[in-house]
């Protein structure tokens, strides 16, 4: 898609980016600066809602900007700029998350760690609901809460919980189930 030659016609955002990218390939630093300043918030806003930690958006945005810089020669001026950019954004986002999870960065915090929610809960805006669940759990009888936490949060089997608490396996299952029903009723 070539940018329109008539400069009096206002360009759409996509056309403007295409024009700037084409000028940047020719070495126009001003156009390149404008392009990077225009796409940086776009990239950030696009990915921030898809990440567990909003700080990652900053890191990924920087990686995308570097990638755009390194691969500017692969952009073809006869094509729109945005699909080319989005392919890079998607690639860098997946690459970042792959590295994060393969380094088991998501396994290195405990539930007691206050930064856990900030860094690892998919949507931090739900942190308030998490607190509500915690509050509801605290309101349960100690034994019932212990069984529920062991089986549903810490991932023990009913048999293991039964051995740990001295209850029968069926009593453990019934207790966990009743707690779950109670919580569901509470939170709709």
């Amino acid at each position: 898609m070539k940018p329109p030659s008539n400069t009096n016609t206002p360009l759409s955002v996509g056309e403007q980016w295409t024009a700037w990218a084409t000028a940047a390939q020719a070495g126009d630093k001003a156009a390149y600066n404008k392009l990077l300043r225009a796409i940086a918030p776009f990239i950030r806003n696009f990915i921030v809602g898809k990440l567990a930690n909003p700080d990652w958006a900053e890191d990924i945005t920087q990686e995308v900007l570097i990638s755009v810089h390194k691969s500017l020669n692969t952009y073809s001026p006869d094509r729109p700029f945005r699909p080319w950019l989005m392919a890079i954004v998607s690639f860098r986002k997946i690459d970042f998350l792959r590295k994060h999870y393969s380094a088991r960065g998501d396994k290195q915090s405990s539930l007691e760690d206050p930064s856990f929610i900030q860094n690892h809960v998919t949507n931090p805006t739900h942190a308030g609901e998490y607190k509500d669940v915690e509050k509801a759990l605290k309101a349960l009888p100690a034994k019932q809460r212990e069984v529920f936490e062991l089986i549903k949060i810490q991932g023990y089997t009913a048999k293991e919980v039964a051995e740990k608490t001295g209850m029968s396996v069926s009593a453990v299952k019934v207790s966990a189930h009743r707690t779950m029903v109670k919580l569901k009723d509470k939170f709709g």
Partner: protein, 212 residues
């Protein structure tokens, strides 16, 4: 607006900007490779020695069909490898389906042949075929790896696979003209082993190889 760190980076990247020549169209990159690989393979095959019945084989429809099919796999894989050098594949992701479709037909063809003719996995010329395959494919493989790593792929494993597939196809056709064993077992297993190994090696290092 952006954080100061992003601002700093933008200023730094702007300072570093040099004029760049847009990468040639993928077709313009793939075509010279295909012609070069075919010419090179032809010279190597002549140097190794054409199979004695090669002229007769040129009138064998099954032989011609198989080579044409493998040729289509190779051409489409080479095109796909070059298209993959562009992050968004120029919006033509359907190209990926083409080599896979031809490859599926090739395996179907091999399956039918093995049902009708039997597999017959002779190993007599294994070492000889492996060596010949190596010489037929080494230069096109090196150039293809150079070509495909020259871009900015967002699919490193697929790029490695397409590069291997394109080289394997040219090597397979070349070996058809040097080796007289046309049985399915020999041709589809022993002729392809070096290329499968090449593909596995490229796959193992794909992320590093195609890093940008």
């Amino acid at each position: 607006m952006s954080e100061p760190s992003v601002d700093d980076m933008i200023n730094s990247l702007t300072d570093e900007l040099e004029p760049v020549k847009p990468m040639a169209h993928p077709m313009a990159r793939a075509l010279p490779w295909m012609i070069g690989a075919a010419v090179y393979a032809w010279f190597v095959v002549h140097h190794i020695g054409l199979r004695p019945d090669s002229l007769e084989k040129l009138s064998d429809l099954h032989f011609l069909f198989e080579n044409m099919l493998v040729g289509l796999v190779g051409i489409s894989a080479a095109l796909c490898a070059c298209w993959l050098c562009v992050p968004d594949m120029r919006g033509q992701k359907w190209i990926i389906a083409v080599p896979f479709s031809f490859l599926a037909v090739f395996f179907l063809w091999g399956g039918l042949r093995s049902l009708i003719e039997g597999v017959h996995m002779e190993t007599a010329h294994f070492g000889h075929c492996m060596g010949d395959g190596f010489w037929i494919a080494i230069v096109p493989a090196a150039i293809m790896v150079f070509l495909s790593t020259g871009g900015a792929t967002t699919r490193p494993f697929l790029s490695a696979f397409m590069a291997s597939l394109s080289v394997a196809s040219f090597g397979y056709i070349g070996l058809h003209f040097t080796c007289m064993m046309d049985t399915v077992g020999h041709a589809m297993v022993y002729h392809l082993i070096p290329f499968v190994l090449l593909g596995m090696a490229l796959g193992l290092i794909a992320r590093r190889l195609y890093r940008w």
